[in-house]
Symmetry: C2
Subunit: 124 residues, 2 copies
DNA sequence: ATACTTGTTAAAGTTAACTTTAAGTCAAGG
DNA sequence: CCTTGACTTAAAGTTAACTTTAACAAGTAT
């Protein structure tokens, strides 16, 4: 049931290069290799990579993701800190959504009215 | 009523360097300079910069913003194309919001349940 | 056995959006 | 007049997150 790097990349919508890069950066410490040196991706690896993608797509940096992962590796004792990291990231996401909502309003207004509120005099 | 580069930067939450960079990239073609060569920011400039910030904060690249600005400079004849640019950007914003909403759900779930669904075996 | 595809590493290259540096100009206060 | 602080330019430097390259090894199809 283990996938090759290409298969895993396809499932995740990433490229093999990106997966190698993540591995090199230490984001995939649980990854195993076949005896000939090929990376093999288990269901567990894919789940962890899905979480990585989620965090990355919502603006968490590789460095921060790695920090979070290190906390996970340390086990029970870091539960509180992990929760705090996620809470902070949650506020971050909410802030981004607010910013986007704001921009959306402005863009919507422009779409409906840009003839009347042109920025340049030439555009008024 | 015209502002210095520092004053304008403060109003916009940017740095003077960033404004110079935008100017250099051709994003501020309407900007005037005092006879001693200092940039002066009018109300109109600030409005245009606010729109730039809006587009930038919602993920439009400097290159795309410059393209949009060039359309504005060309006047009436580009109204349709400008509207299309904004419509495409609107879909882009909506897609980003959807992505964030998705990530938010996952993060919320993790916050509430991460003890039970740990990624690493050590974390279960 | 041979050719093709997929994998490996280390290291260098890319891109966007700034930021910093260096060297100089301008305006105001004492 | 002199210093101080804000401004100017051009050019080089920075950072994140990849991507590409080169040189090589392994697995698969004919």
């Amino acid at each position: 049931m283990n996938l090759s790097i290409k298969q895993a990349a396809d499932q995740l919508g990433l490229t093999p290069s990106t997966l190698r890069y993540y591995d090199k950066e230490g984001l995939l410490p649980i990854l195993k290799k076949s005896k000939s040196g090929f990376r093999t991706f288990s269901e567990n690896d894919l789940q962890w990579l899905n979480l990585i993608c989620c965090l990355k797509n919502s603006g968490m940096s590789i460095t921060e993701i790695k920090h979070f992962m290190n906390l996970c590796l340390q086990g029970e004792s870091t539960c509180e800190e992990r929760k705090e990291v996620l809470e902070r990231h949650k506020s971050n996401i909410l802030k981004q959504m607010e910013t986007l909502q704001n921009c959306l309003c402005i863009v919507n207004y422009k779409i409906d009215h840009y003839k009347e509120i042109g920025i340049f005099h030439i555009d008024q």
